[in-house]
């Protein structure tokens, strides 16, 4: 292959294209398939004033809150599902240290559909009386020009950069999303079509022949992708469907640490700042732990 067509970069290089203050979409959904290696790299690089625009968040946003990287967040959820509230996020919010714009869950995805359609807004029904609109001047009341019904125009998400974590991509950025996918993987496809600066972290960079055998599963073609990074276990401690399950033990350690600012500073030192590379981070977790997380999926 022509070397010039390769979009493969290091994690450090990929993160450095995400500038202070930009509107950033982190793929996955809630506690599933979050591009955590890239999130750790942003924390390492001490990015500032990011605006997170997304659908549902967890460890990604919580860690960036603790690392001082965020100015504002536009989403439907920040929580750790069965591990409860996101404690770093909660502390920052209660100090007034982050601007929070609350969006309903599916309407937060409609915003990306607007981007995909090249529209400035998406019309929705059902927001009347909800405090989501009381605290958000960017949502406008409109009248349906056909029926006269009361609707609301929800602004397009307009991310400057989208980062998703996928199981496989080739060097040029053709991205495979498995057929046995669920909601978070489909959300990644939606995000990737809403922006002209897409970074893909992938479990594995595969040869062109693999892409050609799975063309029907290449939901994100190379021309939509700007950079590809090979990052095995790149969503750890969140799962990557079809590859590994959630690392409950690490999540529990994270949650315990996040109970107090001083404890979480130590967590960040140990897992984010001390490891020189992502592989140092994986070494810290150890082979016993990582291999115990395998998701065998269906064999047929």
């Amino acid at each position: 292959m022509n070397a010039r067509s390769s979009k493969v970069v290091s994690l450090c290089e990929a993160a450095s294209t995400i500038k202070d203050g930009c509107r950033l979409t982190l793929g996955g959904f809630a506690v599933y398939q979050k591009p955590m290696a890239l999130v750790r790299e942003l924390a390492r690089q001490a990015r500032k004033d990011l605006v997170i625009v997304g659908a549902a968040h967890s460890f990604d946003v919580d860690m960036l809150c603790a690392a001082g990287c965020l100015k504002r967040i536009e989403t439907s959820y920040v929580g750790l599902e069965r591990f409860g509230l996101a404690r770093n996020f909660r502390r920052l919010a209660e100090k007034g240290g982050i601007e929070i714009v609350d969006y309903p869950e599916l309407i937060s995805l409609d915003r990306f559909r607007a981007d995909q359609e090249g529209l400035e807004f998406w019309p929705v029904e059902g927001l009347g009386g909800n405090d989501v609109i009381r605290f958000n001047a960017e949502i406008k009341e409109i009248t349906c020009p056909v029926s006269g019904r009361l609707l609301h125009a929800v602004p397009a998400a307009k991310p400057d950069v989208v980062v998703i974590h996928a199981i496989a991509a080739d060097e040029e950025g053709n991205v495979v999303i498995p057929a046995r996918r669920l909601f978070p993987q489909s959300a990644d496809i939606t995000f990737s079509r809403a922006c002209d600066h897409v970074i893909v972290t992938a479990e594995k960079i595969v040869p062109r022949s693999f892409i050609k055998r799975h063309a029907r599963l290449v939901e994100i073609p190379s021309y939509r992708v700007n950079a590809v990074v090979e990052v095995p276990f790149g969503s750890h401690p969140t799962p990557t469907l079809g590859r590994y399950i959630a690392d409950d033990q690490h999540m529990a350690e994270y949650v315990e640490a996040s109970g107090a600012e001083v404890r979480f500073t130590r967590y960040l030192e140990r897992y984010v700042h001390s490891p020189q590379t992502h592989f140092d981070y994986l070494d810290l977790l150890g082979s016993r732990r990582l291999t115990s997380l395998q998701d065998l999926d269906s064999l047929q």
Partner: protein, 272 residues
């Protein structure tokens, strides 16, 4: 067969199952934490299964909103992860792989749903966003999630409150993330809400229904072993005259047998 008396959870499941009709589509989220999971997920699932066995065979159950009529016999424990390998591999009739998906939410495909929050008020408004001012909250919670959609796009909503204390059942919520009946049904129409809204509020102490003209919750029944004065003390708004309010009904033997022997024989959903 003399059976052990109904547990509080079995009682709520049975009362809820009376509310569902054949051919409806029922949506339950996946709540976590023992009390929340019981009220938000397990009781609704048992209630819907019971309705299917008794009077609503073609009711569709949406587990976590995604998994259509899952085979609960294959479960080893109540699921606590919405989009995990465990649920991907649980046998069911259809999965929701993305949005927009199999159900057309905004056309009204979902007949009813279940939701929960930290606060619900007399008008049926629900809050899962914050306690105190929005820009400087005393407690910041997870966010609106799917509550706005539940309370405006589903046909009707069952609000499942795992705790009934004055701080949960309040005069007015601190943040409206799910709209009840401000100004009654007329008020909803003025807000552009064409359907939906809360049907019942289910708590560990009582069941509320709504005067939808006035837009007020009122007590429909009080659970056995709860007194009217206890209920008043635990509620953040005036309950009016409770003298004619009946007790929440007991399950009959057939219902208990179906729950214990057919729906949940291993006690995975409801603790015995």
């Amino acid at each position: 067969m003399t059976s052990r008396p109904a547990s509080p959870y079995e009682r709520l499941a049975v009362v809820l199952s009376d509310e569902f009709n054949d051919r409806e589509v029922g949506f339950t989220g996946l709540l976590t934490g023992s009390a929340a999971a019981l009220f938000g997920t397990a009781i609704p699932l048992v209630a819907m299964q019971l309705a299917k066995l008794r009077h609503a065979p073609r009711l569709t159950i949406l587990l976590a909103g995604c998994y259509h009529n899952p085979d609960f016999r294959e479960l080893d424990c109540l699921p606590d992860s919405e989009h995990s390998a465990q649920l991907r591999d649980l046998p069911c009739e259809a999965q929701m792989l993305g949005y927009p998906g199999p159900w057309a939410l905004k056309r009204g495909d979902v007949s009813f749903g279940f939701s929960s929050g930290v606060q619900v008020d007399q008008a049926g408004n629900l809050n899962s966003v914050c306690i105190g001012p929005h820009d400087r909250p005393m407690v910041r919670l997870v966010g609106p999630i799917l509550q706005p959609e539940h309370m405006s796009m589903f046909g009707r909503e069952f609000i499942m409150m795992p705790s009934h204390e004055p701080r949960n059942i309040v005069g007015q919520v601190d943040f409206i993330s799910g709209v009840g009946y401000p100004g009654g049904l007329e008020g909803r129409r003025g807000l552009g809400l064409r359907r939906g809204g809360p049907e019942l509020i289910v708590t560990p102490k009582c069941i509320f229904e709504f005067d939808k003209v006035l837009g007020h919750a009122r007590v429909r029944s009080i659970h056995p072993n709860v007194t009217a004065s206890e209920l008043r003390a635990a509620t953040g708004f005036d309950l009016g005259d409770l003298s004619k309010v009946p007790a929440t009904r007991d399950p009959d033997d057939v219902e208990l047998q179906l729950i214990r022997q057919v729906i949940d024989p291993r006690g995975i959903l409801l603790p015995h």
